[in-house]
Symmetry: C2
Subunit: 211 residues, 2 copies
């Protein structure tokens, strides 16, 4: 399988951690993509094979056997079912719905983090400080909600809801260094307890190559 | 179950069409939400019950039996499994992955449509015409991709990939009235062939109440 990646994207990292937790990394060719900072507002030039893989022109994108999946939700659902025997996400029932509920909140944080990043890449004239505050406030509300409603259900297994949550926590520290921990101190303690897992250590974020 | 909605949101409409196609509308209380146009860049005031339901402060949000789901992906997955016997989306296997592949593309269109809407609600000073062009171009690439790679697999059953695609087509006509049909004439013909379904007629988009 071929997976298009960047080292900065939390959506990519979620998939890469899933792959490492399933122990199937030798099945993949990882293709690095490059993104000039103008991606925040413009359609940027990409390699022909990447353009052919995904009309969305975003990462992650997975070319698998007979199917191409162009967002992390579908990719994780596919890998968990076909290569993980539903080990990281229950196939059905209450366990699945509780995990999807947590992932929707953690995913909303990641989406807000990325939208804030795109906003920060705008020119001074077109940048909205209101929008940046809106994305920050959404992220912090969601961290607090994860602590209150979802952290108490986290079990011993590091499954997809926990993977997504850990990636959101880590991205905030790496990209913004802001004080989400005051909004969710118990969640921060949980994150610190999992941050040294090999799958997370092997996928620490780094700046995406621009050229 | 309680579902928070607006009449304009394509994400909400996707869930409402799913509910109608499953014939389970009598199980829901539909709660209308109101959104001043400042939502494009600001955290707007919402009703206390809505704020308690979702830290994301976005619609749709579903309060179901023992679980609250705050995005259309998890809501549709839940309703299809618990109330639809997997009739609108296969539980596993190639049929599921092909449907998720199409939904990722159609969902990327809806996301681009909404981000463009938020951009258009900005002040003249903070509006990026580059960003609007980027969202338009992404949408049109994705319509063409749906026509080329996914339309040929559409079957007789109006399932979740088709629902999502139809909602994206309809929103473009309603909100923007732009010529996506030239990018995807066969997809447009397909959309015209399903547009009179009762589930789509009953959920035609309308402007969201601002106050």
């Amino acid at each position: 399988m071929r997976l298009y990646v960047t080292p900065a994207s939390p959506w990519v990292r979620r998939v890469r951690v899933t792959i490492l937790e399933l122990g199937i990394e030798n099945r993949f060719e990882f293709v690095q993509t490059k993104w000039p900072h103008s991606w925040g507002t413009q359609t940027v030039a990409v390699a022909p094979d990447f353009a052919a893989a995904t009309p969305v022109l975003r990462i992650p994108a997975l070319i698998a056997d007979g199917v191409t999946l162009t967002d992390s939700h579908s990719i994780c659902d596919y890998l968990n079912a076909e290569f993980g025997d539903y080990r990281l996400l229950a196939r059905e029932g209450t366990a699945r719905w509780q995990a999807l509920a947590a992932m929707a909140i953690a995913g909303a944080i990641i989406e807000a983090q990325i939208m804030q990043r795109a906003e920060l890449l705008r020119s001074d004239e077109e940048r909205s400080n209101d929008f940046i505050a809106k994305m920050r406030d959404r992220s912090f509300r969601c961290f607090a909600d994860l602590e209150k409603h979802h952290l108490p259900r986290f079990g011993a297994a590091f499954e997809l809801a926990q993977i997504t949550t850990a990636v959101a926590c880590s991205y905030d520290d790496w990209r913004y260094g802001r004080d989400w921990r005051s909004s969710a101190p118990k969640l921060a303690a949980w994150y610190d307890s999992v941050a040294d897992r090999p799958s997370l250590k092997a996928t620490q974020p780094a700046e995406t190559p621009q050229h």
